[in-house]
Symmetry: C2
Subunit: 140 residues, 2 copies
Amino acid sequence: MLNQFHHTAEDMIRHNGGRATAGRIGILAILLAEQQAITHREIEQRLPQAQQLDRVTLYRALEWLVEKNLIHKVTSDDRAWRYHANRELHSHQHAHFKCTGCAQVICLDKLPVEANWPLPAGYRFQGIELTVKGLCANCC
Amino acid sequence: MLNQFHHTAEDMIRHNGGRATAGRIGILAILLAEQQAITHREIEQRLPQAQQLDRVTLYRALEWLVEKNLIHKVTSDDRAWRYHANRELHSHQHAHFKCTGCAQVICLDKLPVEANWPLPAGYRFQGIELTVKGLCANCC
DNA sequence: CAATAATCGCAACATTGTTGCATTTACTTG
DNA sequence: CAAGTAAATGCAACAATGTTGCGATTATTG
C-alpha cells in the first residue's frame, strides 16, 4: 500500500530539482502515507529491511525535504522532532495535538489565532507554534 | 543583587517541605531574578564559582522545583528546556515568545485562546503550549 | 550531638543530532 | 550509451542534553 505513494513522492522530489534517490523517495512515501507526525526513529522502523539508511543520511534527507517545503517539522517536548508531509492542508500555519498518553502527534486543521500577536513594542512577529495536549480517543 | 532573592527562595522551598540546600536556594534565586526563561546551561553559568553543582544535581533540583510548582518548564525547538520561576502571573496557562535571532525566551502575559479547543470526537483537552516566534527589539 | 532520611556527586549510559571526509551514485553531456 | 561530475551517501567521531545506580555527604529532627 506504500507503493501508491512512491510515484507521488518521486514526482514531488523531481519537481524540486533534487535527485530521486531510493532513500528520499522511501522517506517521503512513508510520510505521505502517515496520518500523524512521526519521529526519525519511527521512519527508520517503517523502512523495509532491505533499504535501511544511515542515521545521518536520514537526517540529511529530512532536512532537504523540509527545505524544499515538502514536509514540515514539529517541535515536541521529548526532544525529538516529528515530521509530516505537507499536503495542501498544511501549507499554511496550523496547530498540532499531542496525546499525553501514547505520545502520538496529529495535525489540527486550523490555527484560530490571529497572525498578529500583541508583542512588546519593537518586537517583530514571525510565526506561531501551538501544541494542544490531551488524551486521544484510544487513551481516554 | 541576587541576595535579596535568596531569602524568598529559601522560604518558598521550606514551605514545600523540602530541604533548604545551597543548590536549590541558589537555583531558585537565580530563576526569581531572571526575567526570561533560561536553560540548564545558563543557570550553571550564573551560579557563583564557589558553588558549582553537578549537572545531575542541577537536573534533579529543577525537577523537584517543577514538581512543587515553584518553577515551570518551557519546551523549545533546540532540544533544551528552559525554566522560569512561577510568579502569580504564571500560575495559569500563558504563552511564550522566542526570538529567532538571539534565542531568548520570555513569557507573554495572557493566552487568548479558549481552553476548550475543538478536538476530534473522543479526544480530551488538557492544555495548550503556545510559542510565538519572531525577533526581539534588539534583533530587529 | 547522634540518627536518619533526603540530597549530592561521580561514573556510566542513552538519545538525538551534527561535522568532516572519502566513496558511491544519479543525472547530464557528448 | 559511456564517461564525467556534482550530489548524495556512509562511516567514524563528536557534541549536547538528559537519565540511572549507588555510595558518600548533609540538613533536619529529636
